[in-house]
Structures are given as C-alpha cells and as structure tokens.
C-alpha cells in the first residue's frame, strides 16, 4: 500500500538555525499538508498546498515558515530561524483525490535546543 514518508525521523537543531523537513507524498495525490503536534497537545494545522501554491495557512504559519515542492515528489517545510517553541512533531499529509481521506506520514520530531 502506498504511504507518505518523512525524513528525518528526528532532527535536533540549535535555536536560530534553519531546518528543512522533507516529505514524499503519495504519488497521485494533489493536496499536501503540514501539521504540528507539540508534545502532549493536539495536532494543529499549519498549511495546505495545491497546484504549487499555498491554499490555506493558519496563524501559526508565520513568515518564519515556508513550503515548497521543489520537484515532482518532495514536499518540504522550512523554518528559517528556529525557536524553542518550534519543538514539536511535524506531520506531513497528502489527500486522496477520490475522497477526503488524508494519509499522514510518520512524522519528524524536531527538537530545538
């Protein structure tokens, strides 16, 4: 069964550094998403992406965040200057074009020290 993959599984970075989280969505999916989950809290929507542009973003997704689909397969989330409060699990998801089912990747645990 096809699945969404994410790399790395765990990223440790120092405050102020840039990080890029990578996702490979399911190949025939057209909508892509990033979510984050601060430890012990609920999953929060960050951004949705369709047709090579952001279709919706939350208030969390400020100027420090950007997304890109640099080629036909990868979907990346960049945080320009990480803050301690960016420490969280980041989930990528892609949506089946035939229904509204989203498939989540295994997540990347980001630790900012």
């Amino acid at each position: 069964e096809p699945e969404v993959t994410q790399t790395p599984s765990h990223q440790v970075t120092q405050m102020g550094q840039e990080v890029i989280l990578r996702c490979v969505p399911i190949s025939n999916h057209l909508y892509f998403y990033w979510y984050r989950q601060i430890l012990g809290q609920k999953v929060e929507f960050l951004v949705s992406f369709y047709n090579n542009e952001i279709s919706e973003k939350s208030e969390i997704f400020d100027d420090q965040f950007s997304v890109e689909r640099p080629d036909g397969s990868n979907f990346t989330l960049k945080i320009r200057s990480t803050k301690l409060e960016d420490s969280a699990m980041y989930f990528c998801a892609s949506k089946n074009p035939d229904n509204d089912e989203q498939y989540f990747g295994p997540g990347t645990r980001l630790t900012v020290t």
């Binding site: 998403y33 979510y35 989950q37 809290q41 609920k42 999953v43 929060e44 929507f45 949705s48 279709s55 919706e56 939350s58 699990m89 989930f91 998801a93 509204d100 089912e101 989203q102 498939y103 989540f104 990747g105 295994p106 997540g107 645990r109």
Partner: protein
C-alpha cells in the same frame, strides 16, 4: 470557527470489552467530514474511521463504529472487543474541505 471537544482525556477498558470515546464539535459548514485517528506510541496518525456528514447511516469498520448525531454535533467512537493493540491516543477531527480541526485527544488504556 470550528472547534472539536473531547471531554475524556483518559479512558480505560478491559480487554475484550467495549468502550466509547466521546467527541462533540462545532462547525458553521453544511458539508463536512468527521474522522477518528489513532496515534499509537510510534506517534504516526492512523485513520480509524470516517463519516460523511450528509450520510445518516453510522459508519462501521470491523470492531470500530460511530454514533453520529448531527443535530447534537456529536460523533462518538465505539470500540468493541477491545484488544491490547487498541491502546493509543485517539483524536476526533472535523474536515471542512480545507483543513482538519482536531480535538485534544483521549488516551485509551487496554487492561489485559
């Protein structure tokens, strides 16, 4: 505004018994979907069951079923014949066509 409320932060169930996890939501959308996701210790979000809001019939998926009360905006998950592998965090979510809104989760413990 969309909100999803899971009022049970923790639940426990004896193996082979039945447990119901509650969820209420508020949405201004007329067309939406409801989901339950399971998050085991591995942290991956796994779809358990989905319900289209326009369908009156409650969704079922093997041992998992929902009680969808649209007027009350209630969407509870029933797990029958609970198994040790069901132990996880369970998140209720509303999909409004653009994004998910998740509840705060219910941690389910299965007692052998």
């Amino acid at each position: 505004a969309q909100t999803v409320t899971q009022s049970q932060p923790e639940m426990s169930v004896q193996e082979a018994e039945t447990v119901t996890l509650s969820c209420t939501y508020d949405t201004s959308e007329s067309d939406y979907y409801l989901f339950w996701y399971k998050q085991p210790p591995s942290r991956q979000m796994i779809l358990v069951i989905r319900q289209e809001a326009y369908k009156q019939q409650n969704a079922t998926e093997n041992r998992f079923s929902v009680n969808f009360q649209k007027a009350a905006k209630s969407f509870s998950l029933k797990i029958s014949d609970s198994q040790l592998g069901d132990a996880a965090m369970y998140f209720c979510a509303v999909w409004n066509g653009n994004q998910f809104y998740f509840g705060t989760g219910t941690s389910l413990t299965v007692i052998p």
